[in-house]
Structure formats: structure tokens, C-alpha cells
């Protein structure tokens, strides 16, 4: 009986890991590797038209080599888009994470009234879908409709700030919650010990809570960097309301324009590969830079 069981176990040990891996591998192949592979394939193709391009057979798909990549990298509009997104991202990251940190520390302080209500009301905007939030703010920004009076919120100089405001409004609550949850997990004895040593609440926040929070801050920063690199909803939704946002305002908007407005799927595929590469470099680069500081000692 025992020996038979043993035999079965040996047999299973051979196939079991693959069996357990199979669903994950199948899903990865279907929903990650395949689409990415297809995008790479598309990015190496282009349309070749002959003559007037009308009628049957006038349009063929041909191999383009790296021409689409050369065009994507050589397009000044893409890099101008990156600059705009960097400025926007810097604003969003600093304001959103700064506010999230301040709110989390305040809520975690010893004596706060209405903590639950405050926490929920700060978090609530996160539950509003991006398009709805942007439209709502968009209407508030329009001079003739705005309750804030006739300020040019959507003018060339202010539009980045106005857009960042929407993202900060929507994202602060989520990041605050991540930080706050982390703070609640900290053993209260640390603070007690600090107080006995004579530390003030501010001192505790600066010298104990923030250092403990560093890994969470890094996590939220990476998520936020990825989100800002992919900014699309806010500018696309605001675009019809103003003439200060171009169809290529952010890199992803350029991909959308190439694919669905001007009908060049191949350039769009190449540009998205470039964007994916840059956002990988940005997020992993950031992680690498902070890794030693954050996780070095632990």
C-alpha cells in the first residue's frame, strides 16, 4: 500500500509543477505574449499603395523593417508629448503623494475627530470614473459656466495645472489609504517608546512614521509613475472643450491618433512599443535607484 502510494507520488512529482504552471502559462501566452508578439509583428509592417489607391488590390501590407521605429523615435511631436507629460507627472506626483502622505499622517495622529468620515471623503473621488471626473472638472473650468468666475483655467499656460488637479483630486485618496493602512500595521509600542523619550507628535511622524513608510511610498510612486506615463483619459476628455490640447498632447494620445484617427496601425504599434520601453526604463530605473536606500538594510 505504502510502496504503491510512493510510486504514484514520484510519478506526480514529474508532471505536477507543469500542471500547476499550465493555467498561468496559458493565460500569459494568450493575454500577454500573443498580443505583444502581434504588436511587434504589426510594428514591422506598413501599407503600400500603388497609383490612386482606389479599388481592389491597390493597397498591400508589406514588411517595413525598422522604418516605423525610426519614424516614431524621430518624431519631435512624441518627445514634445513626453516633455508635457513629464511636467504634468512631476506636478501630479509631488502634489498627490505629498497630500496623501500628509493626510495619512494626520489621520493616524493620536487624537483625530471624525477620522472615519474624513478618510472616506478623501477616498471618495477615487470611486468616480476618470471620464466623469474630468468632465465634471471640465465644466467647472469653462469660463462662462464656471462658478469660480471667468478664469482661463484651460488656457495654454494653465491647462497642465488644471489637468493635474483632476488627477490629484482623483488619486490622493487611494494613495492615502495605502499609506494609512501601512501606518495602522505599525506596532503602537514604537510610538509609546518615542513619547517616553520625549518625542513630539511631529517628531514621531518625521523620525518614525515616514521612515517606516518608505517602502509604501516607493510602491505608490512606481504606480503613479506608470499611471502618469499612460495619461490619456483626462486630456482626451478635455480636448473637445478647449483648443489648447492637441491630438498628440501625451504619447498615448499619439498612439490613439495614429491607430484610429489617421488609420496607421503600424506606426501606432511601433510607437506603443517605444512607450512601453520607456515606461519600463522609468519604473525599473526608479526602483533601482531607491532599492538600496529602501530595502538595503532590511
Amino acid at each position: 500500500m505504502t510502496s504503491r502510494k510512493k510510486g504514484v507520488r514520484v510519478h506526480r512529482a514529474g508532471a505536477a509543477p507543469y500542471l500547476f504552471l499550465a493555467p498561468a502559462m496559458a493565460l500569459f501566452a494568450l493575454f500577454m505574449a500573443l498580443p505583444i508578439g502581434y504588436t511587434i509583428y504589426l510594428s514591422l509592417r506598413r501599407t503600400k499603395v500603388s497609383g490612386l489607391g482606389l479599388g481592389k488590390g491597390a493597397r498591400r501590407e508589406v514588411f517595413a523593417g525598422l522604418a516605423n521605429y525610426a519614424a516614431a523615435v524621430g518624431d519631435g511631436e512624441l518627445w514634445a508629448g513626453w516633455l508635457r507629460v513629464l511636467a504634468y507627472g512631476a506636478l501630479v506626483l509631488v502634489l498627490m503623494l505629498g497630500l496623501a502622505l500628509v493626510f495619512a499622517l494626520m489621520l493616524d495622529a493620536a487624537h483625530v475627530r471624525l477620522a472615519r468620515l474624513t478618510r472616506i471623503s478623501i477616498f471618495l473621488p477615487y470611486a468616480v470614473p476618470g471620464v466623469a471626473a474630468t468632465l465634471m472638472w471640465g465644466f467647472l473650468y469653462l469660463p462662462s459656466l464656471s462658478p469660480f468666475g471667468e478664469h482661463p483655467f484651460l488656457s495654454a499656460g494653465l491647462v497642465t495645472f488644471s489637468m493635474a488637479n483632476v488627477a490629484v483630486w482623483g488619486g490622493t485618496g487611494f494613495n492615502m489609504l495605502v499609506l494609512y493602512t501601512n501606518l495602522r500595521a505599525v506596532p503602537r509600542e514604537y510610538y509609546e517608546a518615542a513619547r517616553i523619550d520625549g518625542a513630539s507628535e511631529l517628531g514621531i511622524a518625521l523620525r518614525i512614521k515616514i521612515p517606516i513608510l518608505v517602502p509604501s511610498i516607493i510602491l505608490t510612486t512606481v504606480f503613479s509613475v506608470i499611471a502618469t506615463v499612460q495619461v490619456f483619459t483626462e486630456p482626451t476628455t478635455l480636448r473637445p472643450l478647449t483648443n489648447t490640447i492637441s491630438s498628440t498632447w501625451s504619447p498615448l494620445m499619439k498612439v490613439y491618433r495614429d491607430a484610429f484617427v489617421t488609420g496607421d496601425l503600424y506606426s501606432a504599434a511601433a510607437t506603443s512599443m517605444v512607450i512601453a520601453g520607456i515606461s519600463l526604463v522609468l519604473s525599473f530605473g526608479f526602483l533601482r535607484v531607491v532599492k538600496n536606500r529602501a530595502f538595503g538594510e532590511s
Binding site: L52, P143, S144, L145, N243, S246, G263, L265
Partner: protein, 438 residues
């Protein structure tokens, strides 16, 4: 044993999924032929993408009379998104059988080989349409790529009451229009005679047509692109000058701000198309009975020209398995008196067919103070001239939005924006390999 069976099953599922995913393209050459030759077993089922309001009611009328051809309407969002959606669906191999195609997008559909040639099926329908409109669906070739549905001859909508208040006459020339713009804005700095919309390339194309522009033309086997022709530059510089002067506003059409300005009486005119009443009544309800129509101001006194803004046709997808049935419906929809009556009443459109135009008698409710609205429209419509649209209008129109957005915001040279449109159009055509004439 069990392990193996599971693995086999997993592999089988995976293969099945992959092979269905890849089979989209492989059966495409055989299916149209098979569909046409084989007698359909049940009723033929057609899908129709359109954004005409209440089209489902019109399709119901057809379905009741034609039990063998059943049409299902799928309501679309309209505009450039609808065109992109159709092109993507055609590329993916599952387009609808029928699609509403704006005239300017039809060449893109033809170039993508997404719509069928209906020459044989529409031989009789041809007589129902004017030559200018018919040219928009043949692209000047021997083929017929769609059946015209509605057209959008341009005219000037103006606030009768406010024209009296500010003491201005209906402008007959664009010079008079500019003068009126200065007068109005001087009397009340919050009020503008009109606004230049950087979001509506179709509007600008119509105004350029009025001035005699020819953005694309076919000479032999080559395209000639002249978006930056003299007529277009003249139109651009005219509006650019007024925007720079500050007497014409720069807010785009169809925005909440624009609606409010119209409704509050802060915008006095709208050079628009025959479908304007629907927009005005929805967005500026307070202006009912206060608006009137006149011909567009002219570039030279005594001339009589207009252009087209919008208008669309009904096309049949090249990949539809039931092209003959679809063409039959498209013809009925746009030429049959019952269908035309429904299009006017339920769809609120201005039919392109000659017969349809004659059916328009009662002025729109919003314009009840102008009983001769449709007579005006018909006589203005007869003066409208169009131009051939090229195979990459989407690129040109996108360049219009980006370039004029910038030009309006910076109040810079509008002729420069026209040059940007030309350059973008030519560059895109060169990249794709179109033959271009100099």
C-alpha cells in the same frame, strides 16, 4: 493517466482558441461568392450602422414590407469615431452589411477596400440624384460606392432680433460680414458676430468650397493635393485676421460654452448647413423664432456660391455576404417616397434625392417664423459646389484641428495652419506610396 487527459484537454482548448482567432482572414475570399450564389435558407439578415435618429423605426417599416430581408439597426456615435470603427471592423473581417458613410470619408473607405461597388444595383437610382451629389459617391470613377442620403448645403443663420438691436444688415459679402463683426463687438464687447471653430474641419472645407477651393483632384493615375490653394488661403487669412483683431471669437462649435453663448444671445450668426435647425433647437432653445436664414456672404458682390458641410451616404461593406440585398435596402431607404418621408419626419434629415427635397414643405418648428425655410434652402442648395475628397481626409482633418487649435489660441497666421494641413496630407500620401502629381 488523468494528468495526461487534462493536458490534452488544455492543449485542445488552446489550439481551438488560437485557430478561431487566426481564422478571421483565411475564409475571406470564399465567403462573398458563396453568399451571393447560394439561395438563402431563411430571411437574409442585415446589420446597419448609422447615427440617424430613429432609423430603427424606418427599418421596421422596411422589415414589415420585406419579410425576406430583415435589417437590424445598430446606433453609432457618428463623426470620425464611427468612420474609424467601421474601418477597424472591416480590417478585422466583421463589418456590418450597411454603413452610414460621410461623403468625405467615403474615399478612405474605398481606399481601404472596405465598401462594395454598387454600380449594377444602383443603375436606376442614379436618376434620382443631382450630378454634384452623385459625383461624391462615384469619386469621379466608373464605380458607385454608396447611395447618397443627405446633403449639407451651407447658409448663414442669424439672429434677426439682435441684428435689429445692433443696427446691422444681413451681410451680402464677407467684407460686410467683417464690418458687421466690428460694429457688434464695439457696441458690446461680450457679444460676437460669430466664432471660428478649430474643431470643425468639415465647416472650414465647406467655406473653402464656397471660395472655389479644390483640395484634391485626380489627374490620370495620380492625386493632386492642393489644400493650400489660393481660395483656401484667402478664407483662412480672412478669419485669421478677424480672430486676431478680436472681433470674431475663437471658441469651437458644439461645446457647452458655445451652446451657452448661442442661448444667451452672445453669438449672432452661424455659417452652417441645412441641418442647422436641429442643432440650434437642441442647444439654444431660447432662440426659437428669433433665428432666420440667408445665403452665405459672398467673396465678390453679385456672386452666388455656397459649399457643403456634412452629408452622408449609405454604403455596403465589401465583405458583406449579402451585397445584393443590402444594396436593395440602401436604394429603397434613399429613393422610395415612403422612406424619404420617414427620413424627413423621424430622422430630421435633408434628403439628397431630388424627390426628397420636394417633400420638404413645412418649415422646422424652430423656424416657424420663416415659412419659406425650405424654399430658401433649396435655392441656396442649388448654388453649392463641392470638391473631390482624397483618400486620407482623416489625416487632413486631424491636421486642421491641431494646427488651427494652435493658431486660434496664439492668434497667429491662419495661412500657416493651412500649409501645415497641406504638408501633413502630402507627407502621409507619400509615406503610403500614392502617386502624386505636381
Amino acid at each position: 493517466m488523468r494528468v495526461n487527459r487534462l493536458a490534452v484537454a488544455a492543449v485542445a482548448i488552446l489550439t481551438a482558441t488560437l485557430s478561431t482567432a487566426c481564422s478571421g482572414g483565411s475564409d475571406e475570399p470564399s465567403s462573398p461568392a458563396a453568399g451571393q450564389s447560394a439561395a438563402p435558407a431563411g430571411p437574409v439578415k442585415l446589420t446597419y450602422w448609422t447615427w440617424v435618429p430613429n432609423m430603427d423605426k424606418i427599418a421596421t417599416a422596411w422589415n414589415q414590407a420585406h419579410p425576406d430581408i430583415q435589417v437590424t439597426v445598430s446606433k453609432q456615435a457618428g463623426g470620425d469615431d464611427a468612420a474609424a470603427k467601421f474601418l477597424t471592423a472591416a480590417k478585422a473581417g466583421n463589418p456590418p452589411d450597411l454603413v452610414q458613410a460621410e461623403y468625405q470619408m467615403l474615399p478612405s473607405f474605398v481606399a481601404a477596400d472596405a465598401v462594395a461597388d454598387l454600380k449594377a444595383e444602383t443603375a436606376q437610382a442614379k436618376a434620382e440624384f443631382g450630378e454634384g451629389i452623385w459625383g461624391l459617391v462615384t469619386l469621379g470613377t466608373d464605380a458607385v460606392y454608396a447611395v447618397p442620403q443627405d446633403s449639407g448645403p451651407m447658409m448663414l443663420y442669424y439672429r434677426k432680433d439682435l441684428f435689429e438691436k445692433y443696427g446691422i444688415e444681413v451681410p451680402k459679402t464677407w467684407d460686410e460680414y467683417a464690418e458687421a463683426a466690428r460694429t457688434v463687438h464695439k457696441k458690446d464687447p461680450k457679444v460676437f458676430l460669430g466664432t471660428f471653430s478649430s474643431k470643425d474641419p468639415g465647416w472650414f472645407a465647406g467655406l473653402s468650397q464656397q471660395a472655389g477651393a479644390q483640395w484634391w483632384s485626380i489627374s490620370g493615375d495620380a492625386w493632386k493635393v492642393s489644400v493650400n490653394d489660393e481660395a483656401t488661403k484667402k478664407v483662412a487669412s480672412y478669419w485669421g485676421g478677424l480672430v486676431k483683431e478680436g472681433v470674431i471669437d475663437g471658441m469651437p462649435y458644439f461645446t457647452p460654452e458655445w451652446n451657452k453663448a448661442l442661448n444667451d444671445g452672445r453669438l449672432l450668426t452661424w455659417p452652417s448647413a441645412v441641418w442647422g435647425p436641429g442643432v440650434l433647437s437642441a442647444n439654444a432653445p431660447k432662440g426659437k423664432d428669433k433665428w432666420a436664414v440667408a445665403p452665405l456672404p459672398q467673396w465678390n458682390a453679385g456672386e452666388n456660391h455656397s459649399g457643403f458641410w456634412g452629408g452622408s451616404s449609405t454604403a455596403v461593406a465589401a465583405k458583406s455576404p449579402n451585397k445584393a440585398a443590402a444594396a436593395k435596402f440602401a436604394t429603397w431607404l434613399n429613393t422610395d417616397p415612403q422612406a424619404l418621408g420617414l427620413l424627413i419626419k423621424e430622422g430630421a434629415i435633408y434628403p439628397a434625392s431630388v424627390k426628397g427635397g420636394a417633400l420638404m414643405t413645412e418649415a422646422p418648428d424652430y423656424f416657424s417664423s420663416q415659412p419659406d425655410f425650405w424654399q430658401q434652402a433649396a435655392s441656396i442648395g442649388a448654388t453649392a459646389r463641392g470638391f473631390t475628397f482624397g483618400p486620407n481626409v482623416n489625416v487632413t482633418y486631424n491636421a486642421y484641428r491641431d494646427a488651427f487649435d494652435k493658431a486660434v489660441a496664439a492668434k497667429s497666421d491662419f495661412a500657416g495652419a493651412v500649409q501645415t494641413m497641406q504638408d501633413a496630407t502630402v507627407a502621409d500620401m507619400q509615406k503610403s506610396g500614392f502617386t502624386l502629381a505636381q
